[in-house]
Amino acid sequence: MSTSHLLLGLLAAGNRHGYELKRAHDSRLPRARPLAFGQVYATLNRLARDGLVAAIGQEREAGPDRTAYALTARGRQELDQWLATVEPPAPYVASTLFAKVVVALLAADVDTARSYLVAQARAHTDRLRELTTVKTAPSVTLDDVVAADYAIAHLDADLRWLRTTLERVADWHREVRS
């Protein structure tokens, strides 16, 4: 994920200093890993160096330095270009889940592959249930719902694959070993 573009996007809504950017990031992307302060400042420095943002002054209260940043015209251009670019759908089928079943069939046996598929499906089901609880809570925000939806859709897809593969694993094992 591009932290630079996220910060540019947050600055498009108005000038902000690093601390405010971190808070805005964490509240708009509630299920993402929280952004570290160090990463915010390092990214802002890099964006300033490239002329995509500009420091517009310092506010020094009792606490640490608070440099506010603004999006520059070049930054806006970069952001627009990023938004208009379609992300290529993943060209390779690469997933740890998939790789683990292949390796289990090669290095162990059908039962090992099945045990893994069942245990993984259980873990996915538990997580799916947790996220569904988040999104059905009465006080939930749309930020949380949309973030949970994204994760749920991916877990759901994995679960379908895990269950279908469980049905096919014996046939697959014969093919792998033949």
């Binding site: 059908v110 039962d111 099945r114 045990s115 598929l117 069942v118 499906a121 259980r122 089901t125 799916l128 249930r129 996220l131 569904t132 999104k135 059905t136 009465p138 749920i152 859709a153 877990l155 759901d156 679960l159 379908r160 895990l162 269950r163 469980l166 049905e167 096919r168 694993v169 014996a170 046939d171």
Partner: protein
Amino acid sequence: MTDLQARGVVKAYGPTPALRGVTLDVAEGEIVAVTGPSGCGKSTLLHCLAGILRPDAGQVTWRGQRIDTWSEAARSKLRRTEFGVLFQFGQLVAELTAAENVALPLLLAGTGRREARTAALGWLERLDVADVADARPGEMSGGQQQRCALARALVTEPRVLFADEPTGALDTLAGEQVLTHLVRLARQQRTSVVLVTHEPRIAGYADREVMLRDGVVDATGLGLDLPIVGGGR
């Protein structure tokens, strides 16, 4: 406390077995998803638990009383008072408005017309479909119709709600709105729910998932006891 119990329930349609000895407990206020592939017997189990079908063998118990031996009239009364049922589609009476549809179970139970209408409007409001109270099913979207059907299933404040693929005919967003309402209202009222679905995403709304396979509960939940040789492609 266990409210609803199935013990060794067996049911066949002619020579075809649908349930081959299913045991299941549903506690008060618990939301249980019954899942499994097509033809695994999950809808038949729901029908047996709700007293719509009588099992060929085994027992269904509601709050300590065997209901599978009751007459059709007694089971029908139980369904009108203690149980609510929500199917995939087509349950609303086409000639009646949404409010009249929702009021219907109360009118059948002897509630006065005005009181029944007030209660129906309250439920339509809670399900965010008050604006279609005077519309007939043909004038509503699929999601609105299903929310009205849910209001009708809940208007008698049942102790158990049976929902058979309740979002099967809806698009993802409309289905989600129905399920979110269903789960929130069930939790508020401590209504137990038996939710039949074949989708993992829908089962995620439940507290617990029971997977059926060929008419029996799959103990692993995921088919670990499948035969080593075979399996479809």
